[in-house]
């Protein structure tokens, strides 16, 4: 190429703001706990605020559930299990799940707006991914509710009883759906504990459960901080704990549940490797890398946070990748054209900053988009580190933010070795036009989910989960039923 290159800037046709209206959210100033089919105050009347991370404004206050409240919730779930739900036929359970799915779609816009306000994710994602997928999970598991004995899990699989379910802040509504739909289809009753920073969409879901006429107590929702989650984990009346969140907390839960007789599934962190071979479809690779790490601000446990690119194409991939990173539209999550929204909390922002600083300190080359960031709220510009070594912290620790680490490899063996050289094992991507190589690599990767020529694709029919420090148990698909059945 000559030195005298002309540049054609991308995105020269600038877009005027296109904000989705927040009026449809109808948020109440404060929310209680959803116990026994009703919203009620917490026993100690303690409330805490849920913030909009894009503005730092309070959206609503929610109840801080104490041990006594968790007792009430578990008792309510037990009562509902014994008196109603265990006697409800599969076809009847399906009827409720179908209703919930349809109501989620009817209130899709409201749920998308609430999700974006509370979480900071772009409205495009909550509208096109989170909410439709949440509904799809209820539709999918509704279909299984009366066919459990045909799921290949034994002749007469039985529900476990009361499930305690603790979900993270990155996909608040979707994770609630991932937990509730299979549990209810399998005949369990639930106590759901949403994340401290994103409780609102689960509370709207509580309203939907009322609308659907779900019998009282079949689902109870307790909001609160880590102490609420701990009370649920330790509660002797709970038969099963399902947790999605950090490996650190997952380890604590596993210790506390040990020898209690409770069943446990954990969906924890990851450090996904996105492996790009030299024959990969180049333009689609770039989109796959972008989707892999900047989807949901990188707040994705299966994020493709390590890019392993074959050295022979590394320069070209990196050049095109940075051009694309520059184009990401960062800012107001309510704007329909926003690609990357706000970091969910001040604490998470601090962690992302800390690990990125480590990247620089350890000698990796940093590129950060110089996109304008809003003054208020929690923001982190999309960042790519190249010249990353396997020993760097940014190649090992989960950053859970919009930060990509780029490493290179020479041969398929080396790619596999580097991908597997991680304490995690949740997800990987393989990019190649050669099917035999993709399969060879996929067989050798130690990860629960492997995508070929795509990344971060989710479907209710497809099981999801990890190995090693990414947890155990599967959610989604026929496999997802097993986590809630005695087989």
């Amino acid at each position: 190429m000559t030195d005298h290159a002309l540049t054609s800037p991308l995105g020269a046709l600038t877009y005027d703001p296109a904000p989705e209206s927040t009026a449809i959210a109808h948020l109440a100033p404060s929310y209680g706990l959803f116990l026994d089919g009703q919203f009620t105050d917490a026993a100690q009347h303690e409330q805490f605020a849920s913030l909009n991370p894009a503005t730092e404004e309070t959206l609503a206050t929610v109840a801080q559930a104490s041990t006594a409240d968790v007792d009430r919730a578990v008792a309510s779930a037990r009562r509902a299990y014994d008196k109603v739900w265990s006697k409800t036929t599969g076809a009847q359970r399906a009827k409720y799940l179908y209703r919930i799915a349809r109501l989620i779609l009817e209130r899709a816009r409201e749920l998308a707006v609430v999700e974006t306000l509370d979480n900071g994710k772009p409205i495009r994602e909550s509208r096109d991914i989170d909410v439709p997928l949440a509904a799809a999970h209820f539709f999918y598991y509704a279909g299984w509710a009366d066919k459990l004995e045909h799921a290949g899990l034994g002749p007469s699989p039985q529900p476990l009883g009361v499930a305690g379910q603790i979900i993270p802040w990155n996909f608040p509504l979707l994770m609630a759906a991932w937990k509730l739909a299979p549990a209810l289809a399998a005949g369990n009753t639930c106590v759901l504990k949403p994340a401290e920073t994103t409780p609102l969409s689960a509370l709207i879901l509580g309203e939907i459960l009322q609308q659907a006429g779900l019998p009282d107590g079949v689902v109870n929702i307790v909001t609160g901080d880590g102490t609420t989650g701990a009370a649920l984990v330790d509660h002797p009346g709970v038969d099963k704990i399902a947790f999605t969140g950090s490996t650190e907390v997952g380890r604590l839960i596993q210790q506390r549940v040990a020898s209690s007789g409770k069943r446990l599934t954990l969906e924890l962190g990851g450090k996904g490797a996105n492996i790009v071979f030299e024959d990969a479809p180049l333009d689609e690779v770039i989109e796959g890398i972008i989707d892999g790490i900047f989807f949901n601000q990188g707040h994705v446990c299966c994020a493709g946070s390590r890019l392993l690119v074959q050295e022979s194409v590394a320069d070209e991939v990196l050049r095109r990748l940075l051009r694309r990173v520059d184009q990401l539209r960062v800012g107001n999550p309510m704007d329909k054209n926003t690609d990357v929204g706000a970091i969910n909390s001040a604490a998470q922002l601090a962690r992302i900053r800390e690990l990125s600083d480590w990247g620089e300190r350890e000698g990796a080359t940093r590129y950060t988009s110089d996109c304008a960031l809003p003054d208020k709220g929690y923001w982190f510009a999309p960042t790519v580190f190249s010249d990353v070594a396997q020993s760097h912290r940014i190649a090992r620790d989960e950053i859970f933010g919009p930060v990509l680490s780029v490493l290179t490899f020479r041969t398929p063996d080396e790619a596999v070795a580097k991908a597997n050289n991680s304490t995690y094992g949740l997800a990987c991507g393989v990019w190649s036009e050669k099917g035999s190589r993709t399969l060879w690599v996929a067989q050798r990767l130690r990860a629960g989910v492997i995508w070929a020529n795509t990344y971060n694709k989710f479907d209710p029919t497809s099981p999801f989960g990890g190995v090693r420090e990414s947890g155990f148990g599967r959610e989604g698909g026929r496999h997802g039923l097993e986590a809630y059945l005695n087989v």
Binding site: T2, H4, S8, L10, L13, E284, G288, A314, D315, R323
Partner: protein, 325 residues
């Protein structure tokens, strides 16, 4: 690995043009097979996402004006007459008689026998005359016939020639023949601009679309165009994305900017704006001009006019407000 900095922004087009010469079919094959494949799922995902872009207020108005300036107002019917072409030309020069701010469209596109008539009616206006040629739409004629078709259109005053490739030869793997034919047609065009119609609906796969795009660009096309409008599948957003990415990569490696024309089935402002978003976010502002991006359409123009009026006045007018050409 290279250092990371802002020099890498945008599409880098060398100022000196240097298009590699293909001396024989095996060199052409090698050049085409050296290129990365196209993943269909990825392409369709990308356009689905871009299709959700929301263009509002002043952006929308700007995009509508831009789209109008890119229209090749087209009539390609057996029933075309001088009268029909005259009224189309009048519309092309003054799309909205009640609003002098509405600029003329880029071109009118007609069959070769109506070129002279269109030329006379358009006179000194900025509207170009484009003519389909080379046994449009099937392309099933000898090279001699095709070249004569082109020569007649050019001598009648055509500024732009829209040729069709030999899809039979392409699908049979005779890529050299497709290439040579484009080279010959380009020579016959003289000063006229050459748009090469790939008829992507007959090529079917995105890999084929990308390869045909490269053949046409290497052979000297000024524009690559999706479709004749005469087959079941015409322009689609994913096909446009693949062609734009080919044009972008070609410009980055040769310094020559080849335009892209989407044709067939684009009827609404919403459709047109989606194409402009794809142009905007994949190849950049060099292509955001009638010199390098066109819409082959007829009914699209009235919808653009209607949406333009709506953006400016806040109210929809009835369709009869605009002439029905």
């Amino acid at each position: 690995m290279r250092t990371l900095d802002a020099r890498d922004r945008g599409v880098l087009i060398p100022a000196v043009i240097s298009v590699p010469v293909m001396r024989n079919e095996s060199e052409l094959r090698a050049a085409l097979f050296a290129r990365a494949g196209i993943d269909a799922v990825g392409v369709e995902n990308r356009v689905a996402k871009l299709a959700t872009r929301s263009l509002k207020t002043s952006t929308k108005l700007r995009a509508i004006d831009l789209a109008m300036s890119m229209v090749d107002l087209t009539t390609l019917e057996g029933a075309d007459t001088p009268g029909r072409v005259s009224s189309l030309c009048a519309k092309a020069m003054r799309p909205d008689p009640r609003d002098v701010d509405v600029a003329p469209v880029a071109a009118v596109c007609v069959y070769p026998d109506l070129v002279a008539h269109a030329r006379r009616v358009l006179g000194e206006s900025s509207v170009a005359v484009a003519s389909v040629a080379t046994a449009f739409p099937s392309g099933r004629a000898s090279l001699a016939v095709k070249l004569l078709d082109v020569a007649e259109a050019v001598s009648a005053g055509a500024d732009e020639i829209d040729m069709v490739i030999d899809r039979g030869a392409f699908l049979a793997g005779r890529w050299g023949q497709v290439f040579d034919e484009i080279v010959a047609v380009k020579a016959a065009c003289g000063a006229a601009h050459l748009k090469v119609i790939l008829e992507t609906g007959e090529l079917v796969t995105y890999d084929n679309v990308a390869r045909a795009s490269w053949i046409a660009m290497l052979a000297g096309a000024d524009f690559i165009k999706t479709s004749t409008g005469k087959v079941g599948v015409n322009a689609t957003l994913p096909v446009a994305l693949v062609m734009l990415e080919a044009a972008r990569d070609f410009a980055e490696s040769t310094g020559r900017i080849v335009g892209v024309k989407v044709a067939g089935g684009i009827r609404t402002t919403k459709d047109a704006l989606r194409y402009l978003v794809v142009v905007n976010e994949t190849v950049g502002d060099a292509w955001l001009s009638p010199d390098y991006f066109r819409f082959g359409a007829s009914s699209l123009l009235n919808d653009l006019l209607m949406q333009r009026r709506k953006q400016r006045t806040g109210a929809y007018v009835r369709p009869d407000e605009f002439s029905g050409d």
